[in-house]
């Protein structure tokens, strides 16, 4: 599995996958989780190349998930795909260990720019 998608919206998980494939990454494999807690559990067994997460989710938010992951020493590249776009949110994301924050709505070009540094060769 290459990418772990974390979003409470099944629609958005589908749209992100579609955008990633449209960006040219046609052979990537995906796993999905509906919130940070489930994603954190999945990370105990899965070793994705990249995590893409929403910010606002029930049970455990995206930022809580990222902070828990980094606390465990997990350095997997992590990006947010979220409707949150304020400077405060971006700063919190980056200072907590995120590599990028992509704002919804996005297009395949946005996705490609964000993912290229982490998925080169895929």
């Amino acid at each position: 599995m290459d990418v772990l998608l974390v979003d409470d919206s099944k629609t958005m998980r589908m749209l992100v996958q579609r955008a990633i494939r449209q960006a040219g990454y046609r052979t990537l494999t995906f796993a999905e989780a509906e919130n940070g807690a489930l994603a954190l559990a999945a990370m105990q067994t899965e070793k994705p190349r990249l995590v893409l997460s929403d910010w606002n989710m029930p049970e455990m938010s995206g930022i809580e998930f990222l902070q828990a992951l980094r606390k465990e020493g997990n350095k997997t590249p992590f990006g947010f795909i979220t409707s949150e776009s304020s400077p405060e949110i971006k700063n919190l994301a980056i200072s907590s260990g995120a590599s990028f924050l992509l704002t919804k709505p996005f297009n395949p070009e946005d996705v490609q720019s964000a993912l290229d540094p982490f998925l080169e060769g895929c």
Partner: protein, 153 residues
């Protein structure tokens, strides 16, 4: 308080749905007989509330176009007495993404989606909203409708 511009809102939904979406601002609350949908938002840091009220067929158009559903299928699924989970999830996500235009100055966090009616505490406070911004929206190939941003007193 800065007001979201029709062009900004149209660009957001055009980008989200891949369809040509147009918004026209109107001075009075649109008269509509359509079923209504509501999104409630928490505005930070003030912890105030804002409500997006729109015609359900319009929200269905946005959600349906995300899923690639034809307009007629969207209408059928909206009328289904048991509801349609994929369309409901898509409409929920549309309201989530709309948080970026609900408040220009502050952070808006999407809270809940309601169909047909909001809880009485919210509906009471919406009778004379402190802030109101009314639009009519069209969506290429889909049903349009009324779209209002309201801040309860």
């Amino acid at each position: 308080m800065a007001e979201p511009k029709p062009l900004t809102i149209a660009q957001l939904f055009s980008s989200l749905t891949g369809r040509t979406v147009n918004f026209t601002q109107v001075l009075k609350a649109p008269v509509t007989k359509a079923r209504q949908a509501y999104g409630t938002y928490l505005i930070k840091p003030a912890d105030s509330m804002r409500v997006l009220q729109l015609d359900l067929p319009l929200l269905g158009s946005f959600g349906g176009s995300l899923l690639g559903l034809p307009s007629d299928t969207v209408k059928e699924r909206l009328m289904s007495p048991t509801g349609d989970e994929p369309l409901r999830d898509a409409m929920h996500e549309v309201l989530n993404v709309a948080s970026t235009i609900i408040s220009i100055d502050h952070r808006a966090i999407f809270q809940s989606m309601f169909l047909d009616a909001v809880p009485s505490t919210i509906s009471e406070s919406l009778k004379n909203p402190a802030y109101r911004s009314y639009f009519n929206a069209t969506v290429d190939g889909y049903e349009g409708g009324a779209f209002s941003i309201l801040a309860p007193i």
